[in-house]
Amino acid sequence: AEKDNADIKIGFSSKDNSDTFVAAIADAAEAEAKELGVELLMYDAGGDVNKQISDCETLLAAGVDALVVIPQSVEGSAPVVSMANDAGVPIIVDNGDIGDKNYTAFVGCTDQESGELLGKWFMEESGLEKGSKVAIIEGPMGQSGQVGRMAGFEEVGMLDYFDVVATQTANWKRDEAMALAEDWITTYGDDLKAIICENDDMGMGALSAAQAAGRDDIIIGGVDGLDDAVQAVKDGSYGVSVLQDSAGQGRVGVDVAVAAAKGEEVEPDTRIPFRPITKDNVDAYLEGGVDAISGDDAATEDTTEEKTDEAADDTAAEDTTEKEAK
């Protein structure tokens, strides 16, 4: 007997809702739950793996019908998967990778892909010469975003292509990134050609520093497609923002969870592709949203191993929940 949406209770364990990007996923998830008429319990681990595990324990005790997790740590959050399996509750991993692959489904991006896209753009489209001096600002060490994007830079050979003069973490934080960028701009002077950031919040910090120093020539880019960043791309001050579809990740995460809760078969691996937003497509994006820039860039898709054509667009993503497992 299939459950009614009204009887379904979905548990959502987010890693840190105080992060701009993660909060957007959470919002979309809540909106989708409302839309579908299911109950959603949204727990926020505040950046602490242990709390995430506690949260999941509580959610399972509260009798959720499916569990969605945005892992705080690839390895550290892994026990959640077996906990859910033991409790016989479907578990959906959202946004980033997790160490234990025995989950019911994954919805999100391959972080390495965003690193590859960002690296490629800097190598091929930014106009920088080979061997230019660049600096990299990283996310918190050990997080899927940091590990994956660095691997992506490596994969496309960016680390060798450029002369990487400095690499530091700014923990996804705008102000920390700004201080780093200020120091580097001073240290490397005119030689410094670009600051490559693993997310847009940090990119915005670096941009503030560059602008304050009057260094409009420094090319800055990041990941996420934050509103600020997209606006900056439009203004021409920000080179690239690799769009990660937060709304899609939140929405589809809940959709898959609801389907799983009903006992339906679900697509085990939904990878929503990244889309670089540059001066070429920013207007289209601002007008038409994600759909307007999907699938317009062949180079993008080449880099993805697991290509899911047009999967990022609304209907396609919803479809996937109905599709049978491979």
């Binding site: 949204m42 242990n50 324990e57 509580t58 509260a62 740590s73 390895e75 060490m141 050990g142």
Partner: protein, 315 residues
Amino acid sequence: MTQKKDIGKILRQFGLVFVALFIIAFMSIKSDVFLTSQNIINILRQISINGILAVGMTFVILTGGIDLSVGSVVAITGVIVGSLLQSGTNWFLASLAALVISAICGVFNGWLISYVGFQPFIATLSTMTIGRGFAQVYSNGKPYTISDLSFKVIGQGYFLGIPVPIILLVIFCIIGLVILTMTTFGRYVFAIGGNMNAAKLSGVRTQRVQLMVYVMSSICAWMVGLILAARISSGQPTAGESYEMDAIAATAIGGTSMSGGIGSLSGTIIGFVILGLLQNSMNLMNINSFWQQIVKGLLIIIAVFLDMRTKGKKA
């Protein structure tokens, strides 16, 4: 009339306990999950982390000190155990190795404070920073995945149907209570916090006692490091960040004075139980995490206020 008075009196005598009972009563009505054995076990398992740290922290704070480094010791323990387990070391030896390093952190804190004369805040802040850096350098910033099943028991196992972390919490609380209330060492902890000079003049070896409380705190952090690593099946260099704050909060809510000399471990126990109950309750009531902070802050104020009334302190 008299009955009214009586109730008032009772409420006052148990300020914090009353707050805890109130939360429990409220939640049993509001949620049918709350009183399930599964949820109770969850609550206890969740508070074991902060609880064990708070036991050590209570000793430190009673001497008038503070230990900011516990979170880093948790991380150090995690990466050391993690790396050793990965290299095939037996879980017992791996834990022992981490214990030695943790104890060294405690000795370093205690030595700086009692023999060199550092302010506890500065000494343990430095150890916290150095310790975190060490954990990250050691692990190169990457977590060690732990697959050793016998080790995982510490965090995920059961003994007589009770989760091991809960048993460890109970053991640490009991040991703490015994030391603090029944031994000379416990007296000296209070004496040092109450009047270091007087204690010294009475022949108390104040420096040793001071050193010891920091070692004890580090040992608690080590225990937590093991439980956490076992619980999350990985030794993470970022583990335990800002855990010191919760441990200090539990101690302070429990009525221990930050300037030392006044307080009790039983107060601390109620303190961390209240914090744990709060967290679990707000989750069960599905309060948005932003609101959770507001509610938590207000409830801490109310709990402490009630407790002060109880004890006839100002207010």
